[in-house]
Amino acid sequence: MQIQQLSVFVENKSGRLAEITEIIGKAGVDIRAISVADTSDFGILRLIVDKPKEAVELLRAAGLTVSLTSVIAIGIDDKPGEFAKAMRVLADGNIGVEYMYAFISCDKGKAYVLLRVLETDKAVECLKQNGVTLLSAEEIYGM
């Protein structure tokens, strides 16, 4: 139930995001989800791709600082209150969320949320017990 996410250190310079994603784009690596936040000088680009190992190698070869971490993905109905329900499950289970980002599926009326928590196994267990749909790595990469 763990999905590999890339974190890339990016200097706050115009054109840098284009340059970095061009590297993986040219190699045929497809991006599933993306998130970037920044402080004034730098940002961390977070990527879910179909071929994470390959992408890491490509970016490292290009001299970038990249790390691979596990995140979990949940699927929820794209309806009011559904996201809050999932968050309530984690809150009641005393599981803190480090960061997250979400995207909406184009066909199934579903939304997907990628979550980074410190205690991944505990979070997976807790979500499962409460009937929240978890997505496997294959499902996400193969979307």
Binding site: E11, G63, T69, E98
Partner: protein, 425 residues
């Protein structure tokens, strides 16, 4: 005093100084013994070349008091400059040293046009730094009124300018620039300020900067020179013609040498300034290598002073920078960076001048991917570097994390300093 008379005086004092060092400072005893030089071997001024050089490292190795020529009970004051490796450079003064020091600063002040009618505000930071107390006693000696304002609290500085009728300012050029801007913005009419003179020092000042300071504050600015190793300010200073800094040659014997060979250069040639103190009692130094590059001009000056003039310092033989009046060596910064996990060994130092204040940016490459999970950790890394740099340098810096391999690599001597202070913003 004519040149031959002055040289005779210098020779007599040099001989005495060499013997004094030989007899009273174990470090010099050993050095001079090894070189086979004693006072009676010095027959002419050019025989000074047989005396070994003294370097900053020598002074540092003899920290804190091994360079002293007198017992501590004769020492009445201690100053120190910011240290390169945590240990400061110490200067120790006997009562006579303090008296001579204030004489030399008084000369610099008088040459700048200051007189007993003047009210001087000293906006240098007080403390161990030689600049503030050096100018303080020198200005008192000429009979001027001294206000020991110290640096900071700009609104109060301006208030004292107006309320006390201040006519003279002692500050770093960058602080003077800032004060000038604030005077313009203060909303008070120009004639609320009586300022007319500026004795600026402790960091470099370009012609453009000087013009701007003069325009904004309505003052006439002169430059002066000195360093802790030589006792502080008063070594040389400009007169009203501002065509070089008159050297207090009766107390400090200057030479210009080739940095590589150590050989004396012909008069008028540019090279490293080497200075021998001729009168210091507490901490005499023989042939101190200042690492400042300048030229000596023996032509008499229009002002009538016969003492040799040195050009404004044009560069350094090492990579020292002066930022906000603080001496900064890249090696100090390197020592902090090397001990920090997660960042690479390459760095770049960018010095800028914003709002008339110097600031230093330290760029380092983030190489470890371990910290990418949270901004908090990256920010903690930045903050940690900032705090440690502050304690080592005594300066605020801006730490910027950059991508690996994004800083320029050098073959041979690295050029890690990018000084943009004289560029247009």
């Amino acid at each position: 005093m004519s040149r031959p008379e002055l040289e005779a005086l210098q020779l007599e004092r040099l001989k005495r100084m060499v013997n004094y060092c030989y007899e009273n400072v174990p470090f010099y005893h050993e050095r001079l013994e090894k070189a086979g030089v004693t006072g009676d071997k010095i027959k002419t001024l050019s025989d000074i070349q047989y005396i070994p050089f003294t370097t900053k490292d020598d002074i540092r190795d003899n920290y804190p008091f091994h360079m002293l020529a007198t017992p501590m009970k004769k020492i009445v004051r201690i100053h120190a400059s910011s240290g390169t490796t945590g240990k400061p450079t110490v200067g120790a003064y006997t009562r006579r040293d303090l008296d001579l020091w204030s004489d030399h600063v008084a000369r610099v002040a008088a040459a700048s046009g200051a007189c007993e009618e003047d009210i001087f505000q000293i906006s240098f930071g007080y403390g161990l730094f030689t600049g503030a107390l050096g100018l303080h006693y020198g200005l008192e000696k000429i009979g001027a009124t001294v206000i020991p304002a110290s640096s900071g609290n700009t609104a109060k500085q301006l208030m004292m300018f107006r309320d006390f009728g201040v006519t003279g300012l002692v500050a770093t050029p960058s602080y003077a620039l800032y004060l000038g801007e604030m005077v313009k913005e203060s909303g008070y009419p120009r004639d609320a300020y009586k300022l007319r003179l500026g004795l600026l020092g402790s960091e470099g000042c370009t012609e453009e900067m000087r013009e701007q300071i003069e325009k904004n504050l309505g003052i006439f600015v002169t430059d002066n020179y000195g360093m802790t190793e030589l006792g502080g300010p008063g070594v040389s200073g400009e007169c009203e013609y501002r065509c070089g800094l008159h050297f207090a040659e009766d107390a400090f014997l200057p030479e210009i040498i080739d940095t590589e060979t150590g050989m004396q250069k012909a008069p008028g040639e540019s090279g490293e300034l080497v200075v021998t103190t001729l009168l210091r009692e507490g901490m005499p130094v023989l042939r101190y290598r200042t690492k400042d590059i300048t030229r000596l001009n023996y032509e008499p000056c229009r002002c009538g002073r016969t003492h040799v003039r040195m050009d404004k310092v044009t560069g350094r033989t090492d990579d020292m920078m002066i930022i906000k009046g603080v001496n900064v060596f890249p090696s100090q910064i390197e020592s902090v960076l090397v001990g920090t996990k997660g960042i690479g060994p390459h760095y770049q130092l960018v010095v800028r001048r914003r709002n008339f204040m110097d600031n230093l940016e330290v760029k380092v490459e983030l190489v470890s991917a371990d910290l990418l999970e949270s901004y908090g950790e990256l920010e903690a890394l930045q903050r940690g570097l900032h705090d440690r740099l502050k304690s080592v340098l005594g300066l605020e810096t801006k730490v910027t994390l950059v991508e690996p391999k994004s800083l320029e690599r050098f073959q041979g001597k690295a050029k890690r300093i990018l000084d943009l202070r004289n560029e247009k913003e």
